[in-house]
């Protein structure tokens, strides 16, 4: 009896030892650092010996023009990237689901592939295309649209193009996974009952794909809001976004307190923006999002 109990105990210990690292790893390397960021954002000075006194100065500094401008610019960029991705993803996904039969899995493979390749390569591919002596400029000159090469690289347009290119798959996958499940008879019924294509789209397809769309919107919005690499490489030093400023605070200015405060403020902004989008969709289309959580 005692022996059995001891064995039982031992088994629990084994399960505990095997299972707990997954918790500890997340807790120590993600949740503790998050809390730590908060702590250093409200202390004056900190080093290995301890923290200084509590201050809100880092947060007051966020009310200055520069941080506000950078957060707004990032929001605008995120909205733009997300909207373009939605507009591009819908027709492709609809076309694949309705009109492509045998080739569909191959065409989906082609859409999945960019997600699996190092995204710096996509940035580089566009870097080559948009360069002063790159292919887009050469093409435009050959077509006679311009006479001198224009600087396409290091522009706002270049950032938007590369962002959309990089994040389009994030919009396409979730949308595809819900579009695929729509019963085609529903669309036929809608057409039979006299609805036009656009009526069918807005009354049938759109509500049925809303959950996938929202997943895509969150993925694209959050990643493009905090993007650092793309503006850094194809935007030159002219455009500054949230990701760049965070990097600047931590790696260049070595001002971790201000960096932490800025990181927290921008995270709250993006969280607020996303909750705002969700609240809007919930109120505009009650029922469509029932039971769907973030």
């Amino acid at each position: 009896m005692i022996e059995q109990e001891a064995k039982f105990c031992l088994r629990h210990v084994k399960a505990f030892v095997l299972g707990v690292p997954a918790f500890i790893w997340q807790f120590v390397f993600f949740y503790v650092p998050l809390f730590f960021l908060f702590i250093i954002s409200i202390t004056k000075s900190w080093n290995i010996l301890g923290f200084g006194s509590i201050t809100m100065a880092n947060y007051w500094a966020m009310l200055a023009w520069a941080p506000v401008k950078i957060i707004s610019a990032s929001l605008l960029m995120a909205v733009m990237t997300t909207s373009i991705c939605v507009v591009l993803a819908y027709p492709v996904v609809y076309f694949l689901c309705r009109y492509v039969g045998r080739l569909r899995s191959f065409m989906m493979f082609l859409l999945i592939l960019p997600f699996w390749t190092n995204f710096l390569l996509h940035v580089y591919a566009w870097f080559m295309m948009l360069e002063k002596h790159g292919l887009v400029n050469n093409l435009l000159i050959k077509l006679g649209l311009i006479s001198q090469p224009v600087s396409l690289l290091y522009s706002y347009l270049a950032i938007v193009i590369v962002m959309v290119h990089s994040y389009l798959p994030f919009m396409i996958f979730p949308l595809y996974s819900v579009m695929e499940k729509i019963d085609k008879q529903l669309l036929e019924a809608s057409a039979d009952l006299g609805a036009t294509f656009w009526q069918t789209f807005f009354r049938v397809i759109f509500p049925l794909t809303l959950s996938g769309l929202m997943t895509g919107v969150v993925l694209v919005f959050v990643t493009s809001f905090a993007e650092f690499v793309i503006p850094e490489l194809v935007g030159g030093d002219k455009f500054f976004f949230v990701g760049n400023l965070i990097t600047h605070y931590f790696l260049v200015a070595r001002n971790a307190s201000a960096g932490a405060a800025f990181t927290i403020v921008s995270s709250l902004v993006v969280l607020g923006a996303i909750s705002g989008i969700y609240a809007f969709v919930r109120s505009a289309m009650p029922g469509a999002m029932r039971g769907k959580k973030l």
Binding site: A22, F30, L37, Y99, L135, A191, F197, A226, V229, F250
Partner: protein
């Protein structure tokens, strides 16, 4: 039938837009690959076919070291995260672990830069030297954010009656885990490992913040090269990576795992 007014839309606009998206995604990549075989220092005009950039790739100790570093980091974070994920599944046979699974979702949705700066500030506060250790810690962390949801997604799909039957018939939980759970989950484990390997191999942000300049990964190398401008060696390197990635995706598609996270 959809009415006439949409005929044009259906017949021309939809295929056209689909074509546009595929062209948008693939023309830059195609050009990138073509110019890796071009015999000119500036990959702008086509000159003649050559393989010399690939040879140069093989003879650059820097690039080879970066590959090796990336491989070590990716392999470590894959094995660590898969082992921890499986350990958690074993533990769930004893106690409910839903809270830990929920914890991992936040890692998945949080912007990677927040993960990176958080980790960086704690490590530098504790004066932990940055290098392989911190890179593996960070990569394993993002890997956990994918591995735990994927594994538990599959775990919840398994028939609970079979697990109960196994326990009823006298198998220990460990035997049930080894003989019943693991065989059924093998394809998912394989797919998750593949996904996480790619994620780690391609990761830039965590590496950028947590390397401390001591360890060069392939992504950091590419970033530095793009900064210094266009070079055909980079085209060759990109082509090699694209081909390798296509093979991996192909393997992933063969396994055909349905999971909510891609």
């Amino acid at each position: 039938m959809i009415t006439d007014s949409s005929g044009g839309l259906r017949r021309f606009l939809l295929p056209l837009m689909t074509l546009f998206v595929y062209a948008f995604l693939y023309i830059p990549i195609a050009i990138l690959i073509v110019f890796s075989f071009n015999d000119a220092v500036f990959p702008v005009h086509w000159n003649s076919f050559t393989l010399k950039w690939y040879k140069q790739l093989l003879h650059s100790p820097e690039i080879i070291q970066a590959w090796i570093n990336s491989l070590i980091i990716a392999a470590s974070s894959v094995s660590l995260s898969i082992l921890m994920g499986l350990g958690l599944i074993y533990m769930s046979l004893f106690v409910p672990v839903r809270a830990v699974v929920r914890m991992s979702y936040l890692i998945l949705v949080a912007p990677e830069i927040v993960l990176a700066v958080g980790l960086l500030s704690v490590l530098s506060y504790l004066s932990v030297p940055l290098g392989f250790g911190s890179l593996i810690v960070g990569h394993t962390l993002i890997s956990l954010g994918f591995v735990i949801p994927i594994l538990f997604d599959r775990f919840s799909e398994l028939n609970p009656n079979i697990i109960e039957a196994s326990l009823d018939l006298g198998a220990t939980r460990w035997q049930t885990f080894r003989r019943i759970l693991l065989p059924q989950m093998t394809p998912t484990i394989f797919a998750a490992a593949l996904l996480v390997f790619t994620l780690s191999f391609d990761d830039f942000l965590i590496s950028f913040f947590c390397t401390g300049g001591s360890v060069q990964t392939i992504s950091l190398y590419i970033f530095a090269m793009i900064r210094s401008g266009v070079s055909p060696v980079l085209n060759a390197l990109s082509t090699v990576i694209i081909v390798a990635s296509s093979l991996l995706v192909f393997a992933f598609c063969l396994v055909r795992v349905k999971s909510r996270v891609f």
